[in-house]
Subunit: 212 residues, 2 copies
DNA sequence: CCCATAATAGGAACACGTTCTACGTTCTGA
DNA sequence: TCAGAACGTAGAACGTGTTCCTATTATGGG
C-alpha cells in the first residue's frame, strides 16, 4: 500500500475490531451510547469529568462492559476524537472549499475547525489531552486520527475531494507538517500558553510559510 | 519585552519560585536529589515507573516534601525535561555548530538531540508524555521548555550564539514551526507510530521545506 | 427447544496520584 | 534567647483508573 493510497477512507478497515462496522446491532448501540456519554461529559467538564464510572452510568452499561469496549480512558477519548474527525471530514467533503490558493483553502478549513473546537473548550481540552497523552497501545486510534487530519488537509489543498492518484508524496509531506503545526498550536491554546487570536495568527503564518 | 528579547536566558527569572536560583543550600540539594531520582526512575522504567512514593523514597524526602517542591507528577517531569534542555542548551552553546546553511545546522542539532533521546527511550517517553499531558497549571514550566527549544533552534540557524538584536521575528516564527514539527515527530516515535529512521526523515523533509 | 458460550451487570478490590493530620526540626527576627 | 513561622517526616486517608469475581442474561448452533 502506498502512502497516497493509504489516504482513502476505506482503509480504515485495517484497524482493530474495536472500530465501527463489526458487531451486532446491540453492540453498535452500546458503543454509540458510550461515545455519546463521553462526549457529553467531556463537553461539560473536560478531561477530569470523564470518569469511567460516570461514563458507564450515563451510557447505562456496567463498568466492566465499558472496559470491554474501550480498554482505557485514553482509548475511549481518542476514539471519541476520531468520531469527531470523521464527522468533520464528511461535512467538509460535502461541498467545495472556498479560496483561490491551497494556502487560502487550508487556512479556511483549519480556522473553521479551530473555531469549532474553541467553541467547546472543555471538550477540546479533554480530547486533545487524551490524544497527547496516548502511549503505544493507542497507536491504532491515533493513527486513524492522523489519517483523518491528513485527509482533511490534502482535501483542502486540492479544493475538491482528490483522487488517490492525484495526491503526491509532496502533498502528504506538506499535509503532515501542517498537521504537526496545527496540533502544537492547539496544544498551546489548550494549556493557556496562547490566546485564540495568537493561535490563529501562528497557524496563518506557518501555513503561508509551508505552502508558500 | 519583545519576542526576540524574550529569548535571552536570564528571562527565566520571571518564572515561579519553583525554579533554581532561590532557596537555601539544603533546598537546592533536595530539589536536585528529587530531580535526580526522577531522572533515574524515568530512565529505567519510563512514565509509569516514576511513582511519587518511589521518587520520594529514592530522593530521601517525605512524600509531602516532594509535593511541596513539585505540586504534581507532571510538574515534576516537565521540570526534569526543562533541566535536560538547559543542559543541552549549555552544551550546544559551548561551540560552533557545523554546517554551511541554516538548514544543515538545524538538522545537525535536531538529529543530535533526537539521537540522544532515542538512546534513552524510556526517559524520553516519560518526559515527552508528561510535556504533552500538561494542562494550564504547568504553563510556566512548559513555556520554559519551549523557550529553550526556540533558543536552541535559533542558535543553530545562526551558527553561533546570536545577539538578541540579531534574532528577527522571522527567525522566531521559523524556529517555532520547526519546534512544532520536532515535537510531533518525537511524539509519533514515542507512541510507536514511526521508527527512528522515519522520524529522522520526516524531520529532514520538514526542515528543508521550512528553511528552503 | 436446549445447551454451550459469550456478553453483561453489579460491585468488591487494588494501585497510585494527591491530600491531610500530627508532630518534630530549623530558621528568623525582635 | 525565645516565640512563631516555615519546613520536614511519617503515614493515614481519599479519589479515580483499572482489574477481578460471581451471578445473570443474551446468543447462536444442534
Amino acid at each position: 500500500m502506498t502512502i497516497a493510497n493509504s489516504l482513502s477512507t476505506d482503509d480504515r478497515s485495517t484497524n482493530t475490531a474495536s472500530t465501527d462496522s463489526a458487531g451486532s446491532a446491540a453492540q453498535r448501540d452500546r458503543r454509540k451510547r458510550i461515545l455519546d456519554a463521553t462526549y457529553e461529559l467531556a463537553k461539560d467538564g473536560g478531561f477530569d469529568a470523564v470518569q469511567m464510572r460516570a461514563v458507564a452510568e450515563r451510557a447505562d452499561v456496567a463498568l466492566g462492559t465499558l472496559y470491554r469496549y474501550f480498554p482505557s480512558k485514553i482509548h475511549l477519548l481518542v476514539s471519541a476524537l476520531d468520531r469527531e474527525f470523521e464527522d468533520a471530514q464528511v461535512k467538509l467533503k460535502a461541498r467545495e472549499i472556498p479560496g483561490d490558493t491551497p494556502g487560502d483553502r487550508v487556512l479556511y478549513v483549519l480556522k473553521r475547525l479551530t473555531r469549532g473546537m474553541q467553541g467547546d473548550p472543555k471538550l477540546t481540552e479533554a480530547l486533545t489531552r487524551a490524544f497527547m497523552f496516548a502511549d503505544a497501545s493507542v497507536a491504532n486510534e491515533i493513527h486513524a486520527v492522523g489519517m483523518s487530519m491528513t485527509s482533511i488537509v490534502t482535501h483542502a489543498m486540492h479544493g475538491t475531494v482528490p483522487d488517490s492518484e492525484a495526491i503526491t508524496d509532496e502533498d502528504i509531506v506538506l499535509a503532515r507538517v501542517i498537521g504537526d503545526v496545527w496540533l502544537s498550536a492547539l496544544m498551546a491554546w489548550v494549556t493557556g500558553r496562547s490566546s485564540a487570536p495568537e493561535t490563529a495568527q501562528h497557524m496563518e503564518t506557518a501555513v503561508r510559510l509551508i505552502l508558500r
